[in-house]
């Protein structure tokens, strides 16, 4: 890769935007635009991920402990997009006509069973907030995909953020009892991970 090609990359990308030469999939995802948005996000936040190496290959659902206006979920999704070879979607879509289509372009999906399942079926991982745990559990059971609890530690005044991933949870059975057990297991694992993350955060 020459210096010229690197320097001209944004120009070429802008030209593709104007000429309509970009590609977009049926979920409204635009890979090129998502990559640019991801780089922009990395400028804003510096995120360290612990436990990414232990993640199994293939799609997973990452359940984030908390999220203020979707910021922590987005941080986690951007950080994981760097670590994982397959794509990552952020289930924090705001369903407003002017905004939602642009959010979809950069990898947002609606936190609903149908949309999360479609994303998992296409082979990408999904990051979702704890308050949508029921949706995550349903999708996990339907698609046989592991749930990974993640504790995000952040501060308003600091650029640095940490994401600690817990042990993956998966059930082979189905039905309401299986869903309840999986929900309990994820909640317990998330509490344990949050404690560990808090300890690490204080030390740094």
């Amino acid at each position: 890769m020459t210096v010229t090609s690197v320097a001209l990359a944004p120009v070429k990308a802008a030209r593709r935007r104007i000429d309509g030469g970009f590609s977009i999939d049926a979920s409204g995802y635009d890979q090129e635009l998502a990559r640019w948005a991801c780089r922009l996000g990395q400028v804003g936040w510096s995120t360290v991920v612990y436990g990414a190496a232990d993640l199994a290959d293939g799609p997973v659902i990452v359940v984030v402990n908390r999220s203020v206006f979707g910021a922590e979920t987005l941080t986690c999704a951007i950080a994981l997009a760097d670590e994982r070879s397959e794509g990552v979607r952020c289930a924090e879509l705001v369903d407003v006509p002017l905004i939602d289509s642009w959010q979809r372009r950069i990898g947002f999906v609606s936190p609903s069973d149908a949309e999360v399942s479609v994303a998992l079926r296409s082979g990408v991982s999904v990051v979702i907030e704890m308050r949508h745990l029921a949706c995550a559990v349903n999708a996990s059971i339907a698609q046989r995909v592991p749930l990974v609890p993640a504790a995000v530690m952040s501060s308003v005044v600091r650029r640095r953020r940490t994401v600690r991933l817990g042990a993956a949870q998966l059930t082979n059975s189905s039905g309401p009892l299986a869903a309840a057990r999986l929900r309990d297991a994820v909640t317990a694992e998330l509490e344990r991970t949050s404690l560990a993350a808090r300890a690490t955060w204080r030390l740094t």
């Binding site: 309509g20 049926a26 409204g28 369903d95 979809r104 149908a114 949309e115």
Partner: protein, 385 residues
């Protein structure tokens, strides 16, 4: 009119011994008489190879057999091409159809009746008199395509009631194929971006409501007559010669697009025709989403065609639609919805259901829309004196 498949001798015959040839011959006879009966018999005490062989023979018999096909909407681009493909695939099939306008291409064997959807009694008499075995209902009028909003709604309502009502009175009817669209899923807030066929139907435009009513009518016919009904839910159909409001808007010199610029999927008319033929042959029972891979946006489509893309929002989009209407490209309500909220759906497994694959993705459909044949001026030869 004599039925092409049923013979009284074959029904009474049953194999006395369970030799494979005799068994296959018996099943073949039952296939000729009634395919549904064989489906019930299969899997009881037959081997897997035997069942597969019988299915193959049954398919062959149905393919080459002289069946009677009724096609409504035969005069349209879609109907004419479907009939052409059916004529090629089924040389012995007897095909008859109706529409407001005559067919747009040459048909070799099919008979055409010019009947307006409002002429209910004439339409019913023609269908019942023909007594079809397979009915293909493509006579769905898209607002802004060949009819105004009100006219399209009335034709859909009256015409489909007459056609599917007549289907109940046809004793030989075995299968119905109905054209529908992904407008039936609706684009309400919170509705999924890519609805599958299992998603609840909640149309948010008049065209979607019309299509849902037609689907429900066809399902009623299927239940009453215990026959299979294929409901093909097409993504917006666009093609260079296809009368589509979306196609006309995208071909304007300046194309209005919503600032949100949501994604929508399309389907090529040729793929749509092949899926209708597949539905006639495979007799799939249920709904299928016929949607090309990928998606596009109004801005991208306009720029691919070297058109000027004009951003608009809210009432501005409606105003732009009004201006487009003055320029000869009306923008009906379902198209405004598509531009504001997008329209995609999860494609069904057409290989398993109909035995076909869609050959064009959405970007190909958009590119084909702008590919006009070069006009070659013909020089008229000067007659020698």
């Amino acid at each position: 009119m004599a039925c092409g498949w049923s013979t009284s001798e074959t029904v009474a015959y049953k194999p006395a011994v369970s030799r494979p040839v005799t068994t296959i011959a018996w099943y073949l006879a039952r296939v000729v008489d009634s395919p549904g009966c064989v489906r019930r018999q299969l899997g009881r005490s037959r081997t897997r190879q035997e069942i597969a062989c019988v299915k193959r023979i049954g398919r062959w018999v149905r393919t080459v057999g002289a069946m009677r096909l009724w096609v409504t909407g035969m005069g349209g681009e879609l109907g004419t091409r479907v009939v052409q493909l059916l004529e090629e695939a089924h040389p012995r099939a007897e095909i008859m159809g109706t529409d407001i306008d005559p067919p747009r291409r040459r048909l070799r064997r099919a008979q055409f009746l010019r009947i307006h959807p409002d002429e209910r009694e004439r339409l019913v008499t023609a269908i019942v008199g023909f007594d079809p075995q397979v009915m293909v209902h493509l006579g769905i009028y898209e607002p802004g395509a060949r009819a105004s909003d009100a006219s399209a709604h009335r034709r859909n309502e009256v015409g489909s009631a007459a056609v599917l009502g007549a289907a109940l009175e046809c004793p030989s009817l075995e299968h119905v194929v109905v054209r529908s669209g992904i407008e039936v899923y609706g684009r309400r807030r919170g509705s999924p971006q890519q609805p599958s066929v299992d998603c609840p139907l909640d149309p948010t435009c008049q065209f979607g409501r019309d299509q849902l009513a037609i689907e429900q009518l066809a399902e009623h016919v299927g239940r009453e007559r215990a026959i299979s009904v294929t409901r093909l839910r097409f993504a917006p159909l666009v093609g260079p010669h296809f009368p589509s409001p979306l196609g006309r808007v995208l071909r304007l010199a300046a194309v209005p697009f919503h600032v949100g610029d949501p994604a929508f999927s399309l389907v090529h008319t040729e793929d749509a025709c092949r899926s209708v033929v597949g539905a006639v042959e495979q007799r799939f029972d249920g709904a299928l989403n016929v949607v090309a891979n990928g998606a596009t946006t109004a801005f991208q489509a306009a720029r691919l065609g070297n058109r000027l893309a004009l951003p608009a929002v809210g009432i501005g989009l409606r105003a732009a639609g009004g201006l487009a209407g003055l320029a000869g490209a009306p923008v009906p309500a379902h198209l405004i919805e598509l531009l504001r909220r997008g329209r995609c759906a999860l494609p069904s497994d057409l290989v398993a259901a109909l035995g076909i694959t869609l050959e064009h993705d959405t970007t190909d459909v958009v590119k084909a829309l702008y590919e006009w044949a070069t006009v070659v001026p013909i020089t008229v030869g000067v007659r020698a004196a």
